[in-house]
């Protein structure tokens, strides 16, 4: 190695070492896991799949009672019926997915190298419809909620192992940026509430950890009186700080989901779920 080469190597090392934004999803995930382990030493990381109910014992008990008669049950049943119907061309949803679409949600979202974009489960459902000559469903529609609820239900107990190929790094980084950027008139980032203030009360609600945020969607919210998507939640959280939310399945929300789901790698899927 000549002198200038080694100088270059040293400066790359210095810049990388002192000023590093991890350009490595696994380093991000470990750093986040580490953060929550230190913040909540009495709580297993895996418990965060239950969100706020991992942090608040009293609320957890109420919630467990609700889960005895889960409010999303009807949606799962409807989803199962919808899932098995045939399209006009004789095919059905099963034809578009691995293992006929049963127990596959842990593979979403993924980065499609050819299309150069993040594919979420909801997007894949609509792509399946369109490939088979059917019209796309609205992302806020009951039908989409039910179908995704059923597919989540069949995936319970599986674990996330989201991959970020080299081509997908940009989408991942954009999702990460969205997570850490302050927004709205209140000037809060996702990280302000769900990292910095996690475990604290905000307007009567305990703030949950971001790790595990992706495990249980779609979710029945009593506030919505319907089962709905993670992206609707994103928009709600944007709105809370006075920022305009984005449309469901917009590129930025898909990238954000990609990042957040990677942060839940190794965790069990437990959707659909119920939340206040």
């Amino acid at each position: 190695m000549n002198k200038s080469m080694s100088l270059l190597a040293v400066s790359i090392f210095l810049v990388g070492g002192l000023n590093s934004v991890n350009a490595d999803p696994e380093a991000d995930r470990l750093a986040m896991s580490d953060f929550y382990e230190k913040r909540f030493p009495a709580i297993e990381l895996s418990a965060h799949k239950d969100g706020v109910y991992a942090l608040d014992e009293a609320k957890r008990e109420q919630w467990l009672e609700i889960e005895d008669f889960p409010p999303y049950e009807i949606a799962v049943d409807e989803g199962e019926a919808l899932f098995s119907i045939s399209f006009a061309n004789g095919k059905s949803y099963g034809s578009c997915f691995e293992n006929k679409g049963i127990g596959v949600k842990q593979n979403f979202p993924y980065f499609d190298i050819e299309k150069a974009e993040v594919i979420t489960l909801e997007l894949a459902i609509n792509q399946c419809r369109e490939t088979n000559g059917e019209s796309a469903l609205g992302y806020g529609s009951e039908e989409m909620g039910s179908l995704s609820a059923y597919m989540a239900f069949t995936s319970r107990g599986n674990t996330f192992a989201i991959q970020v190929p080299e081509d997908g790094m940009q989408a991942y980084e954009k999702g990460k940026q969205f997570f850490y950027e302050r927004r709205g008139q209140l000037d809060f980032a996702c990280s302000s509430c769900h990292l910095g203030l996690s475990g604290n009360m905000l307007r009567g609600e305990v703030l949950s950890a971001s790790i595990g945020h992706a495990t249980h969607w779609p979710t029945y919210r009593f506030k919505w009186e319907a089962i709905s998507s993670l992206h609707k939640r994103f928009a709600g959280c944007n709105g809370q700080v006075g920022a305009e939310g984005l449309p469901q399945q917009s590129e930025s929300y898909r990238n954000l989901e990609y990042f957040l789901t990677y942060m839940s790698n190794g965790m069990e899927l437990n959707g659909p779920a119920s939340r206040k």
């Binding site: 750093a31 913040r39 302050r182 000037d187 996690s198 604290n200 006075g242 920022a243």
Partner: protein, 132 residues
């Protein structure tokens, strides 16, 4: 259980976070507050009616800045509300009220665009790093 989290270091961090938020909030409020006041006390009441055309220009400018912030996915909901109020007041002939809303729309739109630009870099400082 939830309240058990607060170590000293954590409390400190929360406090500094909250104070940063407060400062930003105050700055944002102070901003629009000043503009409103200057609009209110500007001139004697009878001359206080801003010409319709200039109010329309401020609304148009607010819409432009708002669109730029929206393009960067940093628009604030309050801006849209003020734009709507300004338009409604203007078409109802309440020029003063229209001016007040238009100025608020413009100042919040400007603040949101400043935020968008700042955050395109500032986010990097917040990324968690492994502590080894």
């Amino acid at each position: 259980m939830a309240r058990r989290v607060g170590s000293k270091a954590m409390n400190k961090r929360i406090k500094s976070l909250i104070s940063i938020c407060m400062i930003t909030l105050l700055a944002a409020c102070g901003d629009s507050g000043n503009q409103v006041k200057s609009a209110e006390r500007g001139q004697a009441p009878q001359e206080n009616t801003a010409p319709k055309s200039s109010v329309a220009e401020i609304i148009a400018e607010a819409e432009k800045v708002y669109a730029a912030a929206k393009e960067r996915e940093h628009a604030w909901t309050i801006t849209r509300k003020h734009i709507k109020k300004a338009r409604e007041a203007l078409s109802a002939g309440h020029t003063e009220a229209a001016l007040e809303s238009a100025e608020r729309a413009l100042s919040t739109a400007q603040a949101s665009l400043i935020q968008a630009k700042r955050e395109s870099v500032a986010w990097k400082e917040r990324v968690l790093k492994t502590s080894s």
